[in-house]
């Protein structure tokens, strides 16, 4: 009995120890993400802080990706098993001991996510301190002492985080991290950013810019924050930076394999700013920020792309790219029954047609027997008043979608409509012209460049399906709330929409202004810049076509 007893005991021990050992192995395989813990010499955003300035949302992203997270001070060497260090919102220059510990880890192949604000209000590393210097030398990423400044910022608004909000856009290089942002034209929101100089090719690094501003300049005079010696916000071409300004980038060290992501604004990743949710919902409020954060995290953890998080739910992910591969098979479709037209001699016969609508847009897809020519035109007739007859039509070409309301008086350019022709024809139209119950009564394809070309039409009724989700286009952030305009001549700014109102200021030709509204007639615009707000005549600005998107403002 005794030997049997020992065998049973041994088996029991093995069975107990087995799962434990396996679990330990599993745990140790989870990537370790170390958030730098704030302390007195080096205050940073804290992983465990659930308030607006905290990083619990970012921590949750890493944990959803299978990582384990720890919060550790940088005053001692990092654990050898660390896969990624997260350093967000330092408020003081990195102490030399901390810098040594961080760089020792980096030069042994460690990865870093750094989000660092401009100097001025706080006092993080300046461009000449160790961290920016070494990022520049080893990774080709140089943090600048420059603050992204939009033309509508004022000395007051720039000092408040909430009112220094602006948008940055992906590009120009298509990297998997920003590919969805490019596909859906999604901006990333920032709240006071510093610029990052990106040297794409270096001796030891390959860097890729991720985000750029489009309308801002970079203010290098940091006394704009100095209450006691306040400097004005003004563009100095000999000193300030202009053009497309990079504010975020990634880089990979070619010798060590170490990866770095640098964001010139910490709020992009803070709970109460870029990673905030729709109130009462787990859905992200700033979709571009959430997608960027998730994909950056996956890239820094070196996960294979197929394991990267899917795009957030609750959004209709239809891209107007002419590919048609994101349309669902179950959505309603109609097919042209006739093999009838060769489109001006080309063998392109209209085939399947689909139409759906979401919260703000209608989408139409048209397939042809062969790949359609790129200069294809699409003409659709709508019945908006449900009387069975077409009363509104659109004529769409790549680059311009025109709307004809049937009155014979008005043909309107629809700036937020899109037509893309590649494998298929895809069209997006804003619902503001298409009330509930609108039906498609006719659809024709034609070669737009060919005079008198013979269109291929389908007169079958096309049912419009409904997708109960938000539109990615509606999340771009520039869907009509504001428009950048430039004066086309010397312009007077007035206190109201008319010549009878007082003059407030005069602008020279080419002055950038932010248009925030228009009068009902659309001939006067409410504009503002860093110093003034007032009205100018609409015909004196360019561009003009997007101004229809502005909300009507009663003076």
């Amino acid at each position: 009995m005794r030997p049997l007893y020992f065998v049973v005991l041994l088996l029991l021990l093995v069975s107990l120890a087995g799962p434990t050992a396996g679990h330990a192995a599993q745990t140790s395989q989870r990537p370790l993400v170390v958030f730098v813990q704030p302390d007195q010499p080096f205050p940073v955003a804290a992983m465990s802080n659930a308030r607006n300035d905290g990083l619990t949302q970012l921590q949750a992203i890493f944990e959803r990706l299978g990582a384990q997270t720890l919060s550790i001070r940088l005053n001692s060497p990092l654990p050898a098993e660390t896969d990624l260090v997260v350093l967000i919102r330092p408020q003081r220059p990195t102490p030399i001991t901390y810098m040594v510990n961080l760089w020792y880890y980096m030069m042994h192949g460690g990865n870093l996510l750094l989000a660092i604000d401009p100097n001025g209000q706080a006092n993080p590393d300046r461009a000449t301190s160790a961290l920016p210097q070494m990022l520049g030398q080893d990774y080709g990423l140089s943090l600048q002492n420059a603050l992204v400044t939009e033309s509508w910022f004022t000395s007051t608004t720039i000092r408040e985080r909430e009112t220094s909000m602006t948008r940055a856009y992906p590009g120009p290089i298509v990297h998997p991290i920003i590919a969805p942002l490019l596909a859906y034209e999604l901006p990333v929101y920032t709240w006071g950013a510093r610029t990052v100089s990106v040297e794409a090719l270096g001796l030891t690094s390959r860097a890729v810019p991720l985000l750029q501003t489009r309308t801002a300049y970079a203010e290098t005079e940091l006394r704009v924050f100095d209450q006691n010696n306040l400097a004005p916000l003004e563009l100095n071409l000999d000193r300030d930076q202009v053009g497309l300004l990079d504010i975020a980038a990634i880089s990979e060290h070619t010798e060590t394999g170490s990866r770095v992501a640098v964001l010139g604004d910490s709020e992009i990743l803070l709970n109460g700013f870029g990673l905030t949710n729709v109130p009462g919902s787990p859905d992200p409020f700033y979709l571009g920020n959430r997608i960027l954060a998730e994909r950056l995290a996956a890239w820094l953890l070196e996960l294979p792309e197929e394991e990267w998080p899917p795009l957030p739910t609750g959004v209709n992910w239809l891209a107007i790219d002419g590919q048609g591969n994101d349309w669902q098979a179950e959505w309603p479709a109609a097919t042209d029954p006739f093999a009838d037209t060769s489109l001006n001699g080309l063998d392109r016969d209209l085939g399947r047609v689909m139409a759906v609508r979401d919260s703000e847009y209608m989408y139409v897809l048209a397939e042809t027997t062969e790949r359609p020519p790129v200069d294809l035109g699409l003409h659709i007739t709508f019945d908006t008043n449900r009387d069975g007859a077409g009363d509104l039509s659109i004529a769409a070409e790549p680059g311009a979608v025109l709307l004809d309301d049937g009155s014979g008086e008005r043909v309107l350019l629809v700036p937020d409509a899109r037509l893309a022709v590649s494998e298929v024809v895809e069209l997006r139209l804003p619902l503001r012209f298409l009330p509930s119950g609108t039906a498609i009564t006719g659809l024709c394809l034609s070669i737009s460049a060919a005079e008198g070309s013979d269109p291929d039409c389908m007169d079958e009724p096309i049912r419009i399906g409904t997708v109960a989700r938000r539109s990615p286009a509606s999340l771009r952030g520039d869907n009509g709330a504001t428009v950048m305009v430039y004066t086309s001549s010397a312009v007077l700014l007035r206190a109201g929409p008319g010549m009878i109102f007082d003059r407030l200021a005069s602008f020279v030709n080419g002055e950038p202004l932010l248009a925030t509204g228009r009068n009902e007639a659309g001939d006067w615009l409410l504009v503002e810049n860093a110093r003034y707000q007032g009205w100018i005549a609409a015909f004196l600005v360019r561009p003009g076509e997007e101004l229809v998107m502005l909300p009507v403002v009663t003076p």
Binding site: I96, M107, S129, A130, Q133, Q137
Partner: protein
């Protein structure tokens, strides 16, 4: 007559040739003999920093480091100049930073410390902060790291002692132009001691391999004192002071004021307390292999300082113990066999020797 002239001329030519043949080759032979069989530094990769105004191994002037560079090269070492914009090469056996005029940049400090943490070796010579020369402050930067991790650092002072009295006029306060009343009388001249900063010492640590077998004086030419914590601490470092000033010296923290006014007064509340001041220290961390030798005087190793020769440009060092100590430091840092050299005795026509400083140097005009 003409024949006699020709004979005399020929004699002069032969004599000149003989002198020429026995002059330069003698020095070369001495050097070769000196170094023969002592190629202990074969293939040692030694990197010199030159980005911050350090003494250069290419500089043959009194401020230069060409003699130390030459010695190391003839002992078989390969010498390079450090490129600070890149990590210090992993195969670097030793980094020499010989008297930076400016503080090292933060990124240089980070690169240096990363190298040391991997078992790197450093010979660091640092002058006192005087006037526009502001190398490595005691409380931050590189010395913050050496102090925390190794227990050694340089202090912000000048090792000095009082010399002969001299007469100076104390600085006068700027008169208030708006104030009315009698014109203030200029202050009377006073007698105050000069400060001596050049000195020699024989006070060496007999228990450390670098200094154990050294005999003779070593010369200093304006040094800062060091702080050495050889007590038991959390770090596993081992630090020792190797050389000390004579006992009547102290660390003057306001030497710039003395240069401007000629007045100095020992103040034990702010100055390094009078007594033997540590001037050279060695520290190591056995766990990582890191080793550092710190010398509080750049000129300890320069051509016109510790490695000055007599006659000039001969291998007859005026302070051969300086050269011995430098080479011992380097062999200890490299963990190579000790180099035992016997330098020729200095000739009778000595180049300037260490003498007490008679008066403070005049401040350079801007």
């Amino acid at each position: 007559m003409r024949h006699k002239l020709l004979v005399i001329l020929g004699f002069i030519v032969v004599l000149t040739t003989l002198i020429a043949m026995t002059g330069a080759p003698v020095a070369a032979t001495q050097t070769d003999d000196l170094l023969e069989g002592y190629a202990q530094l074969d293939n040692a990769q030694i990197y010199f920093s030159e980005d911050n105004g350090e003494a250069s191994r290419f500089d043959r002037s009194a401020r230069g480091l060409s003699r130390l560079g030459g010695l190391l090269q003839q002992l078989g070492a390969d010498l390079y100049t450090l490129e600070w914009r890149r990590p210090i090469p992993a195969d670097a056996d030793l980094v020499v930073i010989a008297g930076p005029f400016d503080d090292l940049t933060s990124s240089q400090i980070v690169r240096l410390w990363m190298y040391l943490r991997e078992g790197g070796r450093l010979l660091l010579l640092v002058d006192p902060p005087i006037a526009r020369v502001r190398p490595l402050p005691a409380a931050r930067g590189l010395f913050e790291l050496t102090w925390n991790d190794l227990g050694i650092r340089g202090l912000d002072n000048m090792v000095a002692t009082e010399g002969p009295l001299h007469t100076v006029t104390p600085p006068q306060e700027e008169p208030d132009e708006d104030a009315e009343g009698p014109t203030p009388t200029p202050p009377a001249e006073i007698e105050t001691p000069t400060l001596l900063i050049d000195f020699t010492t024989t006070s060496l640590n007999a228990s450390h391999p670098i200094t154990a077998d050294l005999q003779g004086e070593i010369g200093f030419f304006g040094a800062r004192s060091l702080e050495v914590d050889s007590s038991i601490s959390l770090s596993s470092s081992e630090a020792q002071a190797l050389a000390f000033s004579p006992a009547d010296y102290y660390g003057e923290t306001r030497y710039d004021d003395y240069r401007n006014t000629g007045i100095a007064e020992y103040d034990e509340t702010v100055d390094a307390v009078r007594g033997p001041q540590p001037l050279i220290a060695a520290a190591g961390e056995p766990a990582s292999g890191m080793r550092v030798v710190l010398i509080g005087d750049r000129d300890f190793a320069t051509n016109g300082g510790g490695l000055q020769t007599s006659p000039a440009n001969s291998p007859s060092f005026l302070y051969p113990t300086n050269a011995d100590l430098l080479l011992n430091s380097i062999t200890w840092l490299l963990e190579a066999d000790a180099v035992e050299l016997s330098f020729p005795t200095p000739g009778p026509t000595s180049t300037p020797t260490v003498t007490p400083t008679a008066a403070p140097e005049e401040e350079e005009a801007d």
